[in-house]
Symmetry: C2
Subunit: 417 residues, 2 copies
Amino acid sequence: MSIENDVLGAARRAREAAAVLAPMSRLGKDTALHAMADALEAAAAPVLAANAADVAAGRADGLAEAMLDRLALSGQRVAAMAAGLRDLAGLPDPVGEVVRGYTLPNGLEVRQLRVPLGVVGIVYEARPNVTVDAAGIALKSGNAVLLRGSASAYRSNAALVEVLAEAGTKAGLPEHAVQLLPADRESVTHLIRARGLVDVIIPRGGAGLIEHVVRGSTVPVIETGVGNCHVYVDAAADLDMAVAITINAKVSRPSVCNAAETLLVHRDIAPAFLPVVLPALAEAGVTVHGDPTVRQYGGERVLAATDEDWAAEYLSLDLAARVVDSVDDAVAHIRRWSSGHTEAIVTGSQPAARHFVSHVDSAAVMVNASTRFTDGGELGFGAEIGISTQKLHARGPMGLPELTSTKYVVTGEGQVR
Amino acid sequence: MSIENDVLGAARRAREAAAVLAPMSRLGKDTALHAMADALEAAAAPVLAANAADVAAGRADGLAEAMLDRLALSGQRVAAMAAGLRDLAGLPDPVGEVVRGYTLPNGLEVRQLRVPLGVVGIVYEARPNVTVDAAGIALKSGNAVLLRGSASAYRSNAALVEVLAEAGTKAGLPEHAVQLLPADRESVTHLIRARGLVDVIIPRGGAGLIEHVVRGSTVPVIETGVGNCHVYVDAAADLDMAVAITINAKVSRPSVCNAAETLLVHRDIAPAFLPVVLPALAEAGVTVHGDPTVRQYGGERVLAATDEDWAAEYLSLDLAARVVDSVDDAVAHIRRWSSGHTEAIVTGSQPAARHFVSHVDSAAVMVNASTRFTDGGELGFGAEIGISTQKLHARGPMGLPELTSTKYVVTGEGQVR
């Protein structure tokens, strides 16, 4: 009961804060973001002390080294968070943007304007920088935010939110614009059922977390992140480009959702391409899981692929590989196995590119470019709250406009029907 | 088990149809819509016979006269459905529209294109014309559609879908682009849990139906329709305009969601306005449920309002009425009681209008115009699938673009990160 009261109480306070935030001017919000950045830098010492306690507790609990690394803050990381808030202040305000506007024959002026969503709930795992990023993006777009981070980062998150909330309120934000929820497992359950109080939930983390939120939520959810991405090397591909894109998509950062997980190769180019790409992959430390044809070219080093490989989001230096008979065959494989994040085609053929683009049903389709470009920063959004793999509301990288809804404002001089 | 198999089987077939529909040209879709319209007119006799059987069964089951009227088709109503399909064919294709497009410093060309959602499930009550409207709008926007109408209209819906499906397939649509689900209660349960097969559910009907779908669904839902709409008459209102808008908003069609349910009156204008509007409402047959101040002006004819009246979507010739102290007071009442559909302000004051517009959090805000204009037809959309009262994906009247998602297409010449 007490966790439920905590969560619902916070959601009610957030709702009140949201009503004050929605009509705030850009100047008011940007002033608060700068104040929060300054306060973060000034309070680096207590934030780092809280973080050190999280890291020590994590080490004592046997947290893996990679997790400890993601959890650990430094003076440099705190400065980067502050810089992120200042960058947000420099971006245009999505609120008030006129998405459509026209005048009806009867003289009514119709405007569809961007407005904040209201109260945004974010459920995320270890990294404490998400706390600051998510709070900043939510506030810039005029939303109140409920943050539910992991237990292992609780002290860090609490220290960060205390600084942000205090500085924000002093600079003119409503109280409770940014709140941290208890890290108990139960608090997620109450948050995702706070229908009517919370307008959207964005889960950021592994597939298990996302599935739990999606299945249990009565609040609308924006799914993020799972990326089983494909690179398809067409018959008409430039060989050097195909090798460069394959290696970049797999190797440049294997742990992220826009990294490639499966390579599809047209049968006609396989004899020229596979003998070049397989050694290059091996040299980069990649283990290939191939179908029988790929194994003919790769020999012992290529493991036998099963359906589990086609389905896998490895997030490691592993790559599934298959030879296909046509663009259509590649599209069919992708439709069957992809998570709908990003697929790339490498081809010099305009008809092949056109066919691939119109038949692949994913958030992003790359033509002669690496899958790694599906990223708010790379696409020039200035800020990113996650990458949506669902079709409703937002699809692909989500920036500030994706944290807004719209409102129709219709102005007349007494018109009736 | 059998209903579950029926529903999931239909959803799987719809998914296959959706893959064929998505890349279809506008010409292909419009040709099919015209063929469906022609076929409907040609098959009016069997459709009307099936409908007569539904009406007879409804009458035997004691269905109310108003419900029977909504259920009954005529030659004229069938012709109107066919005309609706031809109108859809004349509208621009939302699919392929470039929502954003720009070139990055590294030469990558970024395009955000509209694409179909995929498989759309529509759950609706009595009116058989929704069957044809919804199928047409879904197909025009490139989606496969699963229709789940009510048991009382099952024969009519089955006859209509048979005609549409046959004509559509002959004209080049994939099989199973339009399917009717069994009318059993259970079929809704399976439809709203067909996550991964169905992309969105749109419930159209009463509050009970919508709540059932929202609570039980693991598929994303777009909520439609509940409208507890307000007219606020400001201190600076033109009296004649305020009376005309109040009467129009309440009386012109009381049974629809954009009809006004509560009248809020600024204290300063109450002595001039209430003595004029209350007799006008009485003459139009409206029963007013007022607060004590309103009752001072209206006497016996005004019933005492309770919280139930502020919350009510009467959908009848009833109107709640309250005197408020300020624009802020009106906004607070609306924030507390509104369903977020449409609110109107009548005022000659620019600051009051601006404050009302920025502080009211509803899908549509009218300034000096009737609430009745929140309607796809009135706003010039050409087609409407419902009015969303939620904030995610679509808010307000939903036309063809609201049945689409987007896809990023990024084109390069070998770019890597």
